[in-house]
């Protein structure tokens, strides 16, 4: 029952293809929420944000896209994902109802610092969601990110890769 020293040599591995080692990684996905613009006048005003996407993931139809979305579109997306997928959807930045009340000292929901805070929260939200393998299967996410308009009467469905 002699005690041999354990063999801890590495297992054999296939040498890596140099293209794989030095080529662009297959997980490139960048989402930016930027350029807030307030449109409309008076009480009908609202702010839209540019949602820009760059990727090499095959599940996205367009490798580059840019759309404009408002806060209620994000709320719609979050509700759709909660209902349709099994993902635990991260929270959105706050709805800021207080800021919508009259007689405020500042610009309410059109205040620059508020918009910037909201912009950051929306960007974090999208990055978290768009990278989720299950969320990537949802039609609503692709429509939100890459279609020009969000059709709230769409039929929810799953994307299947060819």
């Amino acid at each position: 029952m002699a005690d041999a020293i354990a063999d801890t040599r590495r297992l054999y591995t296939k040498p890596q293809n140099l293209n794989d080692a030095y080529g662009p990684p297959s997980n490139f996905l960048e989402i930016d929420v930027s350029n807030p613009e307030t449109v409309g006048v008076g009480r009908g005003r609202y702010t839209t944000y540019e949602v820009r996407l760059k990727t090499n993931l095959p599940i996205f139809k367009l490798k580059e896209s840019s759309v404009r979305r408002r806060y209620s579109d994000f709320e719609w997306l979050r509700a759709e994902l909660e209902r349709e997928s099994k993902v635990v959807v991260p929270p959105l930045p706050g709805k800021a109802l207080f800021r919508q009340l009259p007689f405020r000292g500042d610009d309410g929901i059109f205040d620059d610092s508020f918009i910037e805070e909201r912009r950051q929260g929306l960007e974090q939200f999208l990055n978290k969601v768009a990278g989720h393998p299950l969320a990537q299967n949802e039609r609503c996410l692709h429509m939100f990110l890459q279609d020009e308009f969000v059709d709230k009467n769409y039929t929810p469905s799953k994307i299947r890769q060819a």
């Binding site: 063999d7 297992l11 890596q16 794989d20 297959s26 993902v87 989720h132 990537q136």
Partner: protein, 358 residues
Amino acid sequence: MNFFGFGQTAEIDIVLNDAETRKKAEHNSEDGRKDKYFLFYDGETVSGKVNVTLKYPGKRLEHNGIKVEFVGQIEMYYDRGNHHEFVSLVKDLARPGELTQSQTFDFEFTHVEKPYESYTGQNVKLRYFIKVTITRKLSDITKELDIVVHTLSTYPDLNSSIKMEVGIEDCLHIEFEYNKSKYHLKDVIVGKIYFLLVRIKIRHMEIDIIRRETTGTGASVYNENDTIAKYEIMDGAPVRGESIPIRLFLASYELTPTMKDVNKKFSVRYFLNLVLIDEEDRRYFKQQEIILWRKGDIVKKSMSHQAIIAAQRFEGSSNPERSHSQSAEDFPNAMTGAPSEETFTDPDLEQAVNAAQR
């Protein structure tokens, strides 16, 4: 005899005959302390002396018998009253009568069967002890001496590697390999993780050792999972074609041998959990059971003859009644690489994402 504490009483002291030469082993107590106890193996004889010392010399100690027991029992923490004794040997030391002076009794339990390893866990405890009882009308005087039992196995005949491809369709495919399916407690897990497809942003990867203690039977089965170790094997983002080596030394962790269905009361099983964590803190994991067994130490000349016999009894043991024997037994999951649980799940999900598998 007097009721107010002036009655005669005695102190019992149990001393093993080979106390000088017998090795001691560390064992965790229920509250986490580590104590040392005499170490025994299956088949070894347990012999010694019982010293009964009267507290008040000169006074008699009346009793209804003095006996010594060797007990192996399983205790469930949620049902403390019921002990399940799987070994119970008794020897009478003295018939009912009286002791007029302190006395020493010899005892020997020859070639005692000790089929299971001592175990102190989260919900169950298996222990062996010598117990001396002086039976009296009103209150017995007892003393217990706990011992620790280790079960030994030899190198298994069949010990294939574990190699499997798992993943999430179109997102992440990996092939993992561990060099063996059965490891002894001082062994090294040598393996590798090979990335076939990486479409998620992985931040790091670790291997956890999980102990699952299962108690209860039928409808009331209770599993308690305990992460014994977390060992980071990769920090950073891998790409396709990369191979990450694994070298995990088991001796640095507190592990016990795999115990399956001990006396039909409990099981202790070990799993390797491979965990990948992405940039958004999502976790993807794959659990794989491994069998742990205890290798006998090098037999030195000074070791007791009994222990040598005991160790030899385990060579290639395939006695079907000994459910603890690990060398020849074919455990369900590991051998052919045919997967038992193929799911690759993110704890955020409520349902498993089905793995792509060749």
